[in-house]
């Protein structure tokens, strides 16, 4: 389906554009992070180490340079009891560096780096699945509306207009409010690497650090409702793009020619309309992945996603510490979101520039 010309154009644009390279690198890195989280994360992201004594020193650790030999010292607040008066008092105490928490820990003593790595799973999965679902619903809907036109188009697009009457986040929040009490709000997806490492089913060579992997969480909580809802509030965009494309493609003479040859509507939709409409749809899908990652982050920030191992939820968690100097808890997952979304957006720009050179505005004709 991808012609040589398109391939050549993609390649040329990729080699010429630093932005495209950065985008692809970011997306690949983050995807790998999400997939191989148990092998990469230094700690179990869910283990809490709250308490007194030794474990107390593991909470609210600031990030440090992970370079060995450089003893890096941070400070944190600690309550101490005045033994004579029995009063509690907050003091800043120096904390010894701990190279195993390069991004620090949160107030529960969870390792932030590990949480950022695991958070990529939910973000990327919701982003890609949500966009895919939206496309699966929206594209055929729009193609049919645009291709057949007339009353059918009128009716279908009016429904789309109604969907657009709601700002997406407002609709998403309302829908989640409705659905979060239902049974399928979240589901636990078992982690195949951890399962394999625990069962010793696969030779250790295939799972690096299998002893480490075996101690990681056995399942990732996947927010089903959020995925469905983001697809539900975004399918209209796919429908609109697909409709616009179908409308213009059906006026092309090759479509008329195919009808003249006696081709059925399904044949035409499959053989001509879809392949020619696919470019802008792919570009939109990329933009949508970026948008949905942001939407998911907002929903988890508001506490609606049903799992707290996400970037948005972690930002919310670190929010209270901001005013008392614990800046890293919110900053790190936020940076992760920005990098992921920047990566996907750059990828989208690359695709758009490569697949649709007309948009550049400088197609100098002779």
């Amino acid at each position: 389906m991808i012609s040589d010309r398109v391939k050549a154009s993609l390649k040329r644009e990729f080699y010429q554009s630093r932005a495209a390279q950065v985008g692809l690198a970011l997306v690949v890195i983050i995807t790998l992070m999400a997939v191989f989280a148990p092998m990469i994360a230094p700690h179990d992201p869910t283990t809490q180490r709250v308490g007194t004594g030794d474990t107390a020193e593991l909470t609210d650790l600031p990030p440090i340079s992970p370079v060995p030999g450089h003893e890096f010292v941070g400070t944190r607040e600690q309550s101490i009891v005045n033994e004579t008066t029995g009063e509690f008092r907050n003091v800043q105490v120096e904390v010894p560096a701990n190279a195993s928490h390069p991004l620090g820990t949160n107030e529960r003593g969870q390792d932030i780096l590990s949480r950022v790595i695991y958070g990529a799973r939910v973000s990327m999965l919701v982003g890609i699945l949500g966009a895919a679902l939206a496309a699966i619903v929206g594209v055929p809907y729009g193609l049919v509306a645009g291709y057949f036109g007339g009353r059918l188009d009128d009716g279908l697009m009016r429904i789309g207009d109604v969907m657009l009457a709601f700002p997406s986040l407002v609709l998403a929040i309302a829908l989640i409010g409705v659905f979060r009490d239902s049974g399928f709000h979240t589901t636990d997806l078992p982690d195949p690497f951890v399962a394999a490492a625990q069962a010793d089913a696969i030779p250790n060579i295939l799972i690096p650090r299998s002893g480490h992997v075996a101690t990681m969480p056995e399942a990732t909580t996947f927010p089903v409702t959020v995925t469905l809802v983001v697809a539900l509030v975004n399918w209209v965009w796919f429908a609109r793009i697909a409709r616009g494309e179908a409308l213009s493609i059906r006026a092309e003479e090759y479509v008329t020619a195919a009808r003249g040859l006696g081709a059925s509507n399904t044949t035409i939709l499959r053989q001509h309309i879809l392949p020619n409409a696919i470019t802008p749809i792919i570009v939109l899908a990329t933009i949508q992945v970026a948008f949905i990652i942001l939407l998911e982050a907002s929903l988890s920030f508001l506490g609606f996603s049903g799992t707290n191992l996400t970037w948005g939820a972690d930002i919310q968690q670190g929010r209270n510490g901001l005013s008392s100097g614990k800046w890293w808890v919110s900053t790190m997952p936020g940076l992760a979101i920005v990098l992921a979304v920047v990566g996907v957006n750059l990828l989208g720009d690359w695709l758009r520039d490569a697949l649709d050179p007309g948009i550049q505005g400088e197609s100098g004709g002779v």
Binding site: P167, F179, S323, V341
Partner: protein, 330 residues
């Protein structure tokens, strides 16, 4: 004459859309798991109490009657009553200041966006492949990629905390109060207003600014490539005139519609921004009511936001047709 027809069409269309939106919102009630009566009634309530509650909520009627009632209520501006705090109507909750607060925030963000984005986009397009272009592009890429709740927190961390002023918790005065005081000779309130507005407006406006910059830039580039620009140059019109009188004007016309649709993002963003800055507006209320599982209130707020959004879009479309009469012919 033709414009009147177009106006009528657009208004009829938006009434239809609002009706559809109201129907969707009405249906939300039936998707809600659990029975509201069970949720509201005391655990030990007898059948009589339950029946009374049901009647009070209007749930004893057949669905089509309920639907009819719902729509007719909306038509006379009755958005329903709270479920949690019975007899308190939606409009009571969304009292004027809350509404104004949200609107002020949204408008300030829009103003920030327009003032920054259009010049930035123009510069970026006209000085293509220069440092200014790259910086503008980088800024807009960052802007559309940053979640605004995080941006808000970072602004608090990097600006508000060091400066020692955290504009959260107690929202500042409303603009009309500030202006009133200013006229009365006291500029202090206006200062407060600005102080409280600054960070939230930047937070909410950044995505919009970035998007608008991108649109202006690519729109200008596309427009510059059109044949009429060549014709304009051929008649000897200086470059600035070509750019502002023709290119920028034509670029902004379609952007107006896109912005109309993107206002949805702005309204959504407002909800988050209000949460971050504990800004006492509509968004805060929505979150609060959702957490209280107060369905009738949620319905009311959602439909009010939808009506506002559709209305703005209609106005934008009418403006568009005024600026570019071709669209009326479609």
């Amino acid at each position: 004459m033709q414009y009147g027809r177009f106006l009528l069409r657009r208004v009829v269309h938006s009434v239809f859309v609002i009706w559809g939106a109201a129907t969707v919102v009405f249906m939300l009630r039936f998707l809600t798991p659990g029975d509201p009566v069970t949720a509201l009634a005391p655990p030990d309530a007898g059948d009589e109490v339950r029946a009374a509650l049901e009647r009070r909520l209007g749930l004893d009627d057949p669905i089509h009657i309920q639907y009819f009632d719902y729509i007719t209520d909306l038509m006379v501006g009755d958005f329903g009553k709270s479920m949690e705090v019975l007899d308190r109507s939606v409009l009571d909750w969304i009292f004027w200041t809350r509404f104004l607060r949200s609107v002020e925030l949204a408008i300030s963000a829009t103003v920030v966006a327009i003032v920054i984005a259009i010049p930035l986009g123009v510069i970026s397009a006209r000085r293509r492949h220069t440092v200014s272009d790259y910086s503008a592009t980088l800024f807009s890429l960052g802007g559309i990629s940053t979640p605004n709740f995080w941006l808000g927190l970072m602004l608090i961390l990097l600006i508000a905390v060091p400066v020692g002023f955290i504009p959260t918790g107690t929202p500042g005065p409303l603009l009309h109060e500030a202006v009133g005081d200013l006229l009365a000779g006291d500029p202090g309130t206006l200062g407060d207003w600005l102080r409280f507005m600054l960070l939230p407006a930047i937070t909410l406006g950044t995505y919009f600014t970035a998007l608008l910059t991108r649109l202006t830039r690519s729109g200008m580039l596309e427009e510059i490539g059109k044949a009429y620009v060549k014709a304009t140059r051929a008649k000897g019109l200086p470059e600035t005139l070509t750019m502002y009188r023709h290119v920028l004007r034509n670029t902004l016309i379609p952007i107006v519609t896109i912005l109309g649709l993107q206002l949805g993002t702005l309204i959504g963003g407002a909800i988050i921004t209000e949460t971050v800055f504990e800004w006492n507006g509509l968004g805060q209320l929505l979150i609060e009511r959702i957490n209280a599982r107060d369905w009738t209130m949620i319905q009311g707020i959602v439909i009010i936001i939808a009506i506002g959004f559709v209305t703005i879009n209609t106005i934008v479309d009418l403006l568009y047709a005024y600026l570019d009469p071709r669209v009326m012919d479609e």
